[in-house]
Symmetry: C2
Subunit: 205 residues, 2 copies
DNA sequence: CTCCAAATGTTAGTGACTACCAAGTTGGTA
DNA sequence: TACCAACTTGGTAGTCACTAACATTTGGAG
């Protein structure tokens, strides 16, 4: 399910999807979310409005859908089970942020910043900022392996995920307000240590 | 602001508003929320679609807008400041529920039940079940009087309100699932005592 | 090469919601 | 009582998010 060879069709599909979302975020920031129609986005991306809807069920999803969830989920699954849950989740968040913001400035980092600022400044989107939470919830539960049978373990996983996401949210808001001048991974680490103590991420230092 | 004499104009306005909302909730329950158009509601209420939108900005508001918030707020403000915050809020909730469900069955109680069941069973509405929370938040802060200057007092008020609303939510869900057979005030009291101990509402017993 | 399925486009439509203008009512006031 | 201003409503036309149905092209597997 994860290591499928990238067929040409899937590649094209990913390209279209990426183009649509990039142009959407750009237009939303330039003209405002409400002042930009889905048709505008379609024109800018060089596709028909129908294609936009086939890739993103609603206009909100143009901003909300992300690949980061899967990125973080993979890192959680790959992290050693000997660490604490919060340590594994938090570490995955920091790692993912490092990977995303560390590349050349014109790349994913800038897009992530624009997307975050858009989500925070647009009322309709702000309310759904944590909607993708379920992706991480599932990843954490999956990472637990066979412990899923234990209800307590599942509850602990959900609690840990929620807490980590709250820290992530804090860091993202700060990062967006700072216009990306601070380093996102450090902000996340700060928020995590503020909540869980200095030694949460010790495994990585 | 509160004791205005009900002029004829305001009375008519309240009547149309009430008629629209009553027919809306009835139709939504009969045919489903999505399968009922605003035009259908307008027809049933004997007004034009424009009039519906003037009274209720969005279709969701046809279900969400209520007078209960104000009812509870008044009771909170009138309650003695010597009681605990949770006691005052909880007592107001129980009192309001008693007033609403105690009347003749064809009246407000039945409407409240239908409205609650609708909100719980409709995904688009369920997410906004606690949207009117701010009404109570304001009422509680107002009831605090001059303590508003104290940030701690405001935080305590918000925490107490949230906790009481969670209990109210639990009670409402149970009431709706029970199809109104249980007594709503008792369900609320149960949920409150489960969270805050047997003596929360003692002042009233 | 052939055939299937995925991806896109086109068209037509539904329905929530808004802007603008016209007409009738109400409530206070000269 | 007569009148004016504000309120309430209706109608028309339009925008825009979103859907359904059908036709067309193109990548992939046998």
């Amino acid at each position: 399910m994860a290591g499928q060879q990238p067929t040409l069709r899937a590649q094209r599909r990913a390209e279209t999807q990426h183009a649509i979302q990039t142009h959407a975020v750009r237009l939303f920031r330039e003209r405002g979310y409400d002042a930009t129609t889905v048709a505008d986005v379609a024109d800018a991306a060089g596709v028909s409005p129908m294609t936009v809807y086939r890739h993103f069920p609603t206009k909100e999803d143009l901003v909300l859908v992300d690949q980061i969830g899967a990125l973080v989920a993979d890192r959680i699954a790959a992290s050693p089970a000997t660490r604490t849950l919060v340590g594994r989740i938090g570490g995955a968040l920091v790692d993912a942020a490092t990977a995303l913001t560390g590349e050349d400035p014109e790349s994913e980092g800038k897009f992530l910043l624009a997307r975050t600022q858009l989500m925070i400044s647009t009322p309709a989107l702000r309310a759904r900022h944590l909607d993708n939470q379920y992706l991480l919830q599932r990843a954490v539960v999956d990472a637990l392996g066979d412990d899923v049978a234990d209800p307590d373990a599942v509850f602990r996983a959900q609690a840990a995920t929620s807490a980590c996401l709250a820290a992530l949210h804090t860091a993202l808001v700060r990062w967006a307000e700072d216009d990306g001048r601070s380093a996102l991974p450090e902000l996340i680490a700060q928020a995590l240590t503020a909540s869980f103590g200095d030694d949460v991420l010790d495994h990585r230092r």
